[in-house]
């Protein structure tokens, strides 16, 4: 990179020396600019496309919950809350497990099996989300409905706090199961990156802590995790961003109803699942409202990803 400044010479001099050189530099610059144009074009498309809905409903688009293609009244509160709940819940499930898995792999697991397990986890992070969605729909949801939802439904007083929180049709397609499938999906990714972070810690830091007489729990909790805290928060935000924008894993299993989510075991919808489900049948104001949902999703994920990238600065994940 230090050589970049050494390359300062005039366009004409470059052209005379090698005509291909300025062409190459311009093309490379244009390619870099294409990335900028893509993001700009995305924002413009979402604003123009969603404008009919946004201008008609104003702020009530964000805070009301009606989704009625017949009367043409649209409010995004249901999908917005559904998106936030599923993403937060999946993060709450996946984060502790991912930390435990990475600690296990870097501290306790014998080296001989740690390497193959780590590779397997990294490979699983690349499995398409549609596979997780299908597993959720065909395997996990029926099992969950039978072994968890039904007993709860028959044994809990429906008027109690827990009864209300866990009420719903026992078909396994609900916000809670969607969150679990999401958690399983982001788990390998987060565990793999946490492991990389732990491995980036110089060994003498760990050795010094052990030398002071710390137990391994104290080494991990008081030394290693604080050492990579910033990077870990960044990775958590990236995982959160993934959970927010995930479409297929959720669409399969969340039940896709536009009710405002009032119970964990009730079907719901997210911003991405609503768009995926309805886009091809939508017209006019309905279409504009769906693009408006896209704009909301973009704003939320952009903020989350911007924070993540700032925290991770130059690290690549």
């Amino acid at each position: 990179m230090s050589l970049q400044s050494a390359r300062q010479s005039s366009f004409l001099a470059r052209f005379l020396a090698d005509p291909a050189d300025p062409i190459f530099r311009s093309l490379a610059f244009a390619a870099a600019t294409m990335l900028l144009v893509t993001l700009g074009g995305l924002i413009i498309a979402l604003i123009i496309g969603g404008w009919p809905a946004l201008s008609k409903f104003g702020l009530s688009f964000l805070f009301t919950n009606s989704w009625n293609p017949v009367t043409e009244v649209y409010g995004a509160a249901g999908p917005i809350v559904g998106t936030l709940i599923t993403a937060l819940l999946s993060l709450a499930i996946a984060l502790p497990i991912a930390v435990c898995v990475s600690v296990f792999l870097t501290q306790y697991c014998p080296k001989v099996i740690a390497q193959p397990i780590s590779t397997a986890i990294e490979l699983l992070a690349g499995i398409p989300s549609i596979v997780y969605g299908m597993w959720g729909l065909f395997v996990f949801a029926p099992w969950f409905a039978k072994t968890v939802q039904l007993p709860i439904l028959t044994n809990l007083d429906p008027e109690s706090f827990w009864g209300k929180l866990l009420s719903g049709v026992p078909n396994g397609a609900n916000i809670f199961t969607a969150s679990i499938v999401l958690a399983i999906m982001i788990l390998p990714y987060m565990a793999a990156v946490f492991r990389e972070l732990f491995r980036s810690i110089p060994p003498h830091v760990r050795e010094a802590a052990f030398g002071l007489g710390c137990t391994s729990f104290e080494v991990v909790g008081s030394v290693l995790i604080p050492y990579v805290k910033k990077g870990m928060i960044g990775v958590v935000m990236l995982g959160f961003g993934r959970a927010l924008g995930e479409t297929m894993a959720v669409t399969f299993i969340i039940g896709n109803s536009h009710r405002f989510p009032d119970s964990l075991f009730a079907s719901g919808s997210t911003l991405a699942s609503t768009i995926a489900n309805e886009f091809n049948e939508a017209q006019g104001l309905h279409l504009a409202s769906l693009i408006g949902l896209g704009l909301v999703l973009f704003l939320i994920t952009f903020i989350v990803l911007a924070i993540a990238r700032t925290l991770l600065s130059s690290q690549r994940y």
Partner: protein, 279 residues
């Protein structure tokens, strides 16, 4: 309780919890792979590769979807490699340390993890609407936009790893920057750049969301990318959601095919990258 004992017990509890969590996580992931293989293998036969997607309750395969996926991903990778390699080279060799370079790098990172369905909306608005209909080209463009940031990122990282002595050698010979990059830097970084391309390919081959309203789907074998176009994820999604057993079986077989392809490409990419590291 004695403090030392408490610390010791706490530590042992922590080890047990960590090991348990690791086992649960691995079991869950193994369970998914197990379902995928048992349910997917049932649908894998010769028909899968020789017949097109069928009507409900009649035999068929996924030939049109496989062909469609391969064609769209190839075009997408062509787009992604051309733009991604040039943009990554610009960031590493030309303007990456300028303020504009920092902006581009930051936005590339944001695009890298942006929800894929938004890329679908982008292409719908700027390609599908102006062109007057869903098409394979639109699908390929959407996938290309998804793969470009990955290729850009890996290209920049790999080029930054090349020693400056290589660049100085090029300059000392009086070569222009283009010749230096083309004949020295790209050649030295070749294996790493190929890995970046493979990772991008692995990422897009399973993408479903951006294809739903760009390429749509096509029940028949078609090579005309200006029409609605079949793809494996595009066929799996409606088949899995349908109540017909024959369609569900095909969906599982398709999901298995995609997963094997993604795993294969990922392993190939790793193998190439490792080869490079150990030299």
């Amino acid at each position: 309780m004695d403090r030392a004992l408490r610390r010791k017990l706490l530590n042992q509890a922590f080890v047990v919890v960590c090991t348990g969590a690791a086992l649960i996580a691995l079991a869950a992931l193994a369970l998914i792979m197990f379902s995928l293989f048992t349910k997917g293998m049932g649908g894998v036969d010769v028909m899968l590769f020789t017949a097109d997607t069928p009507a409900p309750d009649s035999p068929g395969g996924l030939r049109n979807a496989i062909v469609g996926s391969i064609m769209m991903c190839s075009v997408a990778m062509l787009i992604a490699v051309v733009i991604g390699v040039l943009a990554g080279t610009w960031l590493a060799e030309i303007g990456g340390s300028s303020p504009y370079g920092h902006v581009v790098r930051f936005l590339n990172d944001v695009l890298l993890s942006a929800p894929s369905i938004l890329i679908g909306l982008f292409v719908y608005w700027w390609v599908v609407v102006p062109m007057g209909g869903f098409s394979g080209w639109a699908g390929a463009i959407a996938l290309g936009i998804l793969a470009t940031p990955i290729v850009t990122r890996t290209t920049e990282d790999i080029l930054n790893l090349q020693p400056n002595a290589l660049r100085e050698a090029g300059m000392a010979l009086g070569a222009s920057q283009w010749v230096t990059v083309k004949s020295i830097i790209w050649r030295a970084a070749g294996a790493g750049m190929l890995t970046g391309g493979l990772l991008g390919f692995a990422r897009i081959s399973g993408e479903t969301a951006p294809l739903l309203f760009t390429a749509l789907n096509n029940q028949f074998l078609s090579f005309d990318m200006s029409k609605p176009f079949a793809s494996l994820p595009g066929a799996i999604y409606p088949f899995a959601m349908s109540p017909y057993d024959t369609w569900n079986t095909l969906a599982w077989a398709g999901a298995l095919l995609i997963t094997l392809a993604v795993l294969g490409v990922n392993i190939l990419g790793r193998w190439l990258a490792r080869d490079k590291d150990h030299k």
